[in-house]
Subunit: 648 residues, 2 copies
C-alpha cells in the first residue's frame, strides 16, 4: 500500500445548510461570548467550530482574571456575558490580588479546573435556545459585493447569515514549534485551519504572523512540594459574577493550592548554553511574540542580571495531577526543557507530561477594523479575540462579546454599540487595537487605562449593567438589583454626609488622637471622617448610629471607595468629560485626507490607514501630531470635505 | 506571506530520553491496560501517546460491556486490570442484559460518562508509581538484529526498553471520510500517526487497511423524547468490578436513561436514493469494515426487507447534552446525514452537533503474532487492540492487558502468559486472531466461544483471579476474598447435597404438586431439588434450614448456577480436558513444514504462515484438515523434525 495514496484528501460536495441571523466561527473564549450574546439578543445564531472538545478550551494557563484581566471579566459579566458565571462554577482557587494597594489595581484571579471550564461553557451553549453549536471547519466566507453573507464548511455546508463573526484564534494556519521540530497544528495538537486564511488573503486582508508559547506540564506526583512555598486561596469569599452569592464560595480547605518556586543560575546557564537551539533566537520563529508573556529563554536574555524568576506550580484541575509551570513558557527542544525543569527546586525529579511549545498563527492586522469590530474591507463581517492580535482568554472574551453584540445589532438593523475608553477596559483594548494597532500579541495591563480609578473591578456593574440592559443582555430583574444596590450606596453616602461629629464628642476624639491626629475643631461630617486613612466604615459605626438596614459588604465597599477616593475620581471624571467632547466630533466616513492641506505626510498616511471615526480617536493615533488634529478639527467643523475618490 | 512556507514541517534533533523496562505506545483502551499491568508487575514503564486528551477516550459508543464484551471486562478485572474499576466509577446507567436467558449469555452493560471515563483512567495512570505518562508521537522503533530495543518520538526522544507494546488504534495512518470529504486524521479529529506505519512496513510487517464508523451526535435539547421509548437502568445493583460494593450503586433515579426509536421506510428511501454518494459503495472506502457494527447504509443494503432498525439515543455524559445515535453509524455526506436524522421519529428537529464519519486505518495482520501477542518478525515487540484487527474498547483492553503482562514478564525474564480458549473470552479472541486471522474488524460474540457455559460473567473471578495473583496483579487480600467466596459456595453446595427432603415432608410435596410435578417417592437431596426449574435458592430455604451465616447474593448466584447447570458444565469440562491434551502437544518453534511428507499444499502453506505453537492451535487453522493434523501429530511425536532452513 502506498501511504501517499491512502492519505489523499478530497473535498465535500456543497449543499445549502440553512439560514441564520448571525454565524460565529470558532468556539474559543471569544466565539463562545459572541455566540451567546447574539443568541440571547434574539438572533438565530450558529456557532461552528473545528472541534467540540475545544469549546472555551484553555491551551495555556489554567486561570482566569488577574490585573486588568479580572476587571474585564467583571465587565463582561455586567454586560450580560458568560465568562464570570462560567469561572464561578468551575474554579478551584480564588484570590483577590493587590488587596494592600488602591482599588484601581485590585483584581480577582481564579485558578480554573480547565476541563470543567470547557464542559460548563459547552453545556451552557448547548442549552441556549436560539443557538446551534456544530462541529465543522469553515473554509471560506460567502462574500458578495463586499458584503459577507455566510460561510462554507469543510463538510460542504453553505450557511447563510446577515452577519458573521470570526474568532479563529491560534488555529489560523497554526504551526507548533518545539526546538527543531515544527508541524502544522492548532493549539494542543488540534486541527489547524488553513483554507480560511487563504480566503482572507484573497479577500484583500492584511494578515500578520504572531506567536505565543506555553510551558511544559509535569506530573504532580513527582513534584517535591516541600521544597516550594504554598499559595493558598482567600478565606474571604469573592466571585466574578454579580449573581454568585457568597454562600456558594468554596471553603479554602476545599480549594486547591498553588506553589511557588524559582529558577536559579543553573537553570539560566542551561538556557544560555542552548540558545542556538532556541527557535526564538535561531530565526526559526518568524511570528512576533508577546512582550508581557515572554518565554523563559526571552526573560533570561532580556533580564540577564536577574538571578532568579518566579515559577508558580498550578494544578490544572480536580481530576488530574497535571501541573502547569507558570513562568517557564518555552519552545526550546524537549531535551533542554527536561534539563530546565529538573534544575528547579522541587522539580528535580519532576516528570514532564507534555513539553512546552510555541505556536505561530495568522492575525488580521486590527487597523482593518472599525471600533465595532466590523472589518473595513468586508461589510457585516466582524472579528474578535486572538484573530485581532490580542492574547489572553479575557481579552478574547471581551472582544467576542462586543463583536457578538454588534453582529446581533446589525442583524436586527439597530445602531452599533461601542464602549469608550472611559467606559471599560474592554473599550480601552478595542480602541488600542483598532487605533494604534499592535506589532505583537496585545495584552491588557492596568497601565493601558488612563482612567483606571474609574474603571475599577468593584464598579463594573454600575458602569455597564444599564448598557447591557439596553442591548437586551441584562434582565429587568438583574438591572433592578443593581439599581437597588446603587440606591443603597447613595443613601448611605447621603446619611454619612448628614451626620456630623462634634468637637465635644470625646469618644471619637480619643480615637483620633490615638492615631496621632488632632482633635476635631469644628463639626465634621461622618463622610469626611471616612476619608481619613485610619477610618474605615466599620470603625465609623463605633461613633455614629448604624443604618436602619444592615448593609451588605458590597454596598459598604462602594461607600468606602466612593468617599475615600472622591477627589481623585472627580479629577478623572473631568478628564473624561473633556474627552467626550472630542469623541462627539465625528469624522465623516468618506473623508478624503488627500484633500486636507497642511497635514504632515506621516499624519496623513496614518489617518488614511486607520480612518478614525472621531477626533478623539484620531488624536490617539501614533504619528498623528497635535497640529494635524488642529487642522483636521477645523476642516471637519467647516464641513468642506469631499468623498474619497470623488473628483471635486 | 506564502502559506506553503509558513506551514513547512521539520524534524527534531534526537536525544537520549531514558531507559525503561517496558514502553507502551498509545494510551487508548489497550495501551492503558498494558501500561498499568506492566507497571503494577514492578516494571519501570513508559506510556507515550499522541494526545493526553485522548487517554482511554471513546471515539464511538459511550458504553462498556454488552454480550461477550461485558464478560471480557469481568475477566480483565479478575486478572487485575483496570477497565472494571474505571467504568464502575464513571457509569451513568447500568443494565444486566439477557436476564431471562441462561447464565452463559447474561452480560452487564454500562452507559459511560465518556469524558469522566477518560479523566478517571488518566488520573489512575498519573498516580501509578512505576508508570510515566508522556505526550509524544512515536515515529519509529529502535530495532537491532530483529530485536526491539525502544522507540523514537517526534520530539526527538530515544527511549530504550527491554520490551515495547504497540497499541496505536485507528490513528495509524488514519483517514476520516464523510461523503466526498476525506482527510488525514486520527479518531475525533486527533493527530494521526504516519511515520510509524511506514517504519513497520520497512521492518517487513504486512499491514492491512480496515475501516470503522460512528454515527452523528445530536443536541438532546432538540430531541422530542415523548416520541421515543425510555430505557432506564436496573433497580438491582450490578458492577463490573468484584471490588465495588453494592452500596456504591447509583440509584436508578440518579442514572440517566436511554431512549429507543426506529428508522422507517422514509429513512431507508433517503439512504437508497443517495447510495451513489455513500463512500462505502462508491469505492472511496477501501478499508474493510466491521460486519457486526455495520453502518446504516450497509444495513439498508444487506437487510433490504427490514422496514425498520432500532436507534438508541444514548447520553454521552452528565456534563453534556450530546446524544449518540446508536444504530445509525454512517459516512454518508453531511447533507444526507441531516436528512436521515430528521426522518426518524423524535428527531424531526434534532440538531446535528457532529456528523458521523468513517475512519480508515492500518492493521498489523494478526497472523504475524504469537499467542503472547509478541510479533514473530521483531522480538520483544508486542501489539494489541485495534492494531491487531479487533474492534471495540473491551476487545482492545483485553488484548492490552495480555500484551502488557507478557511484555512485563519478558522484561523480568519470566515465562509467558497465555489464556486458553477454555480459560476466558480473552483467550478465545486472541486465539481467533492469531490462528484464524481476520479479514474485517474482529468483534467478540458469544457464539465465538465453544465453552460458553464455562466462560460466564459470574465466574470470571473463580476462573482467573489465581492467574492474576500469580502474575502479581492481584493482591493476597483480594485473592483471599475470592477464595473465601469459593469456599462458601462449596460449603453451601455440600450442605445442600447432605440435606435430604423426605417423601413424608408434606410442605415440600404440596409445593411440588402446585407446580404440576409428582410427589417425592424417595428422599431427595436439596441440591437436586434446586435443579428443578421451579426451584430457586430462596424457595428452597422455605423447606430446609437456612445456613448458619446468611450468604450474600453473589454466593447464592454461584450455588444456583453451579447446581442447576451442573450437567451441561460437566460436559463442557470433558471437552476442555480433551482439548488440553492437544494443547500440551507443542510444535517446536523451528519446525520445517517443507520437511513433512504428506501434508496437503494448502495445509502446508497455512501452517507455514501461522506457525502454530500447539497441535490444538494447528487444528483450528482454516484450511488445515484433520488428515494434516494426524500427519503432523505423528511427525511431532517422533521428534524427527529439522530446523527450518537447515540442510539435513
Ligand atoms: C500555546 C499557546 C500559548 C498561549 N499562551 C498564552 C499566554 O501565555 N498568555 C495569554 O494571555 N494567552 C496565551 N494564549 C492565548 C490564549 O489561548 C488565547 O488568547 C485565547 O484562547 C484566545 O481566545 P480566542 O477565542 O480568540 O481563540 P481560541 O481560544 O484559539 O479559539 C479559537 C477557536 O476557533 C476554532 N477555529 C479556528 N479556525 C476555525 C475555522 N476555520 N472554522 C471553525 N472553527 C475554527 C478553533 O478550533 C478554536 O476552537 C496561548 C495560546 C496558545 C495556543
Ligand atoms: C470513528 C470510530 C468508530 C468506531 N466504531 C466502533 C464500533 O462501532 N464498534 C466498536 O466496537 N468499536 C468501534 N470503534 C473502535 C474503538 O474505538 C476501538 O476499538 C478502541 O478504541 C480500540 O482501542 P485501542 O486502544 O486499540 O485504540 P485507540 O483507542 O484508538 O487508542 C490508540 C491510541 O494510540 C495513540 N497513538 C497512535 N499512534 C501513536 C503513535 N505513533 N505514537 C503515540 N501514540 C499513538 C492514539 O492517539 C490513541 O490514543 C470505533 C473507532 C472509531 C475511531
Amino acid at each position: 500500500m502506498k501511504s501517499a495514496e491512502s492519505l489523499k484528501t478530497s473535498d465535500a460536495v456543497q449543499y445549502e445548510g440553512g439560514d441564520y441571523d448571525v454565524i460565529v466561527v470558532g468556539a474559543g473564549h471569544a466565539g463562545s461570548e459572541a455566540a451567546l450574546a447574539a443568541a440571547r439578543m434574539g438572533n438565530k445564531t450558529l456557532l461552528v467550530t473545528i472541534s467540540l472538545e475545544m469549546v472555551a478550551f484553555m491551551p495555556c494557563n489554567p486561570s482566569v482574571g488577574g490585573p486588568a484581566k479580572g476587571i474585564v471579566v467583571r465587565e463582561i459579566d455586567a454586560l450580560g456575558g458568560e465568562m464570570g458565571h462560567n469561572i464561578d462554577k468551575t474554579y478551584i482557587q480564588m484570590r483577590m490580588l493587590n488587596t494592600g494597594k488602591g482599588p484601581a489595581v485590585r483584581a480577582l484571579r481564579a485558578q480554573a479546573d480547565k476541563h470543567a471550564y470547557h464542559r460548563q461553557m459547552k453545556l451552557t451553549i448547548e442549552r441556549e435556545p436560539n443557538l446551534t453549536l456544530r462541529q465543522a471547519t469553515v473554509d471560506q466566507l460567502i462574500v458578495e459585493d463586499g458584503v459577507c453573507k455566510g460561510v462554507i464548511t469543510n463538510t460542504g455546508a453553505r450557511y447563510h447569515a446577515k452577519t458573521v463573526v470570526l474568532t479563529v484564534g491560534t488555529a489560523a494556519r497554526g504551526k507548533i514549534i518545539i526546538g527543531e521540530l515544527q508541524y502544522q497544528s492548532g493549539p494542543n495538537n488540534s486541527k489547524s485551519a488553513v483554507k480560511l486564511s487563504e480566503n482572507l488573503e484573497d479577500l484583500g486582508f492584511d494578515l500578520e504572523r504572531f506567536k505565543t508559547g506555553t510551558p511544559p506540564r509535569v506530573n504532580g506526583n513527582t513534584i517535591n512540594f516541600d521544597e516550594t512555598d504554598i499559595q493558598p486561596g482567600d478565606e474571604e469569599p469573592h466571585h466574578f459574577s454579580f449573581d454568585t452569592p457568597d454562600s456558594q464560595y468554596i471553603a479554602v480547605s476545599d480549594q486547591l493550592a498553588c506553589w511557588l518556586t524559582y529558577t536559579n543560575p543553573t537553570t539560566h546557564g542551561i538556557i544560555r548554553a542552548n540558545l542556538d537551539r532556541a527557535p526564538m533566537f535561531s530565526g526559526m520563529i518568524k511570528g512576533v511574540g508577546p512582550r508581557y508573556c515572554p518565554s523563559i529563554e526571552d526573560k533570561i536574555v532580556r533580564f540577564a542580571d536577574k538571578s532568579r524568576h518566579q515559577v508558580f506550580l498550578e494544578p490544572e484541575g480536580r481530576d488530574t495531577d497535571e501541573y502547569y509551570l507558570d513562568g517557564v513558557s518555552t519552545s526550546m527542544p524537549e531535551e533542554i526543557q527536561n534539563k530546565i525543569v529538573h534544575s528547579i527546586k522541587g522539580l528535580e525529579n519532576a516528570q514532564l507530561m507534555r513539553p512546552g511549545y510555541a505556536i505561530e498563527y495568522d492575525v488580521v492586522a486590527p487597523y482593518q477594523l472599525h471600533p465595532t469590530l466590523e472589518t473595513k474591507i468586508v461589510k457585516n463581517l466582524y472579528t474578535a479575540g486572538q484573530t485581532n492580535g490580542s492574547s489572553g482568554y479575557e481579552e478574547a472574551a471581551g472582544q467576542g462579546l462586543i463583536a457578538g453584540i454588534n453582529a446581533g445589532l446589525r442583524a436586527q438593523g439597530k445602531q452599533p454599540f461601542v464602549l469608550k475608553r472611559s467606559d471599560a477596559y474592554i473599550g480601552v483594548m478595542i480602541d488600542d487595537l483598532v487605533t494604534k494597532g499592535t506589532k505583537e500579541p496585545y495584552r491588557l495591563l492596568t497601565s493601558r487605562a488612563e482612567y483606571r480609578l474609574i474603571l475599577r473591578h468593584d464598579n463594573a456593574d454600575f458602569r455597564l449593567m444599564e448598557k447591557g440592559h439596553a442591548i437586551g443582555l441584562v434582565s429587568d430583574e438583574r438591572l433592578a438589583k443593581m439599581e437597588a444596590k446603587k440606591a443603597k450606596v447613595a443613601a448611605e453616602i447621603k446619611r454619612l454626609q448628614s451626620i456630623k461629629l462634634k468637637p465635644s464628642d470625646e469618644k471619637v476624639n480619643t480615637f483620633i488622637e490615638r492615631h496621632g491626629d488632632n482633635r476635631l475643631k469644628d463639626a465634621v461630617a461622618a463622610a469626611d471622617l471616612l476619608k481619613r486613612p485610619y477610618f474605615d466604615y466599620q470603625t465609623l459605626l463605633n461613633f455614629i448610629p448604624a443604618p436602619q438596614d444592615t448593609l451588605d459588604r458590597h454596598v459598604i465597599e462602594q461607600v468606602e471607595i466612593q468617599l475615600k477616593y472622591a477627589g481623585y475620581i472627580k479629577k478623572e471624571e473631568v478628564k473624561v468629560e473633556r474627552m467626550k467632547r472630542m469623541e462627539a466630533k465625528r469624522i465623516p466616513a468618506d473623508i478624503d485626507y488627500e484633500d486636507i492641506d497642511g497635514l504632515a505626510t506621516e499624519g496623513r498616511q496614518k489617518l488614511e490607514k486607520i480612518r478614525p471615526e472621531t477626533l478623539a480617536q484620531a488624536s490617539r493615533i501614533s504619528g498623528v501630531n497635535p497640529a494635524d488634529i488642529a487642522i483636521l478639527s477645523v476642516y471637519v467643523r467647516q464641513g468642506k470635505f469631499s468623498k474619497k475618490g470623488e473628483q471635486e
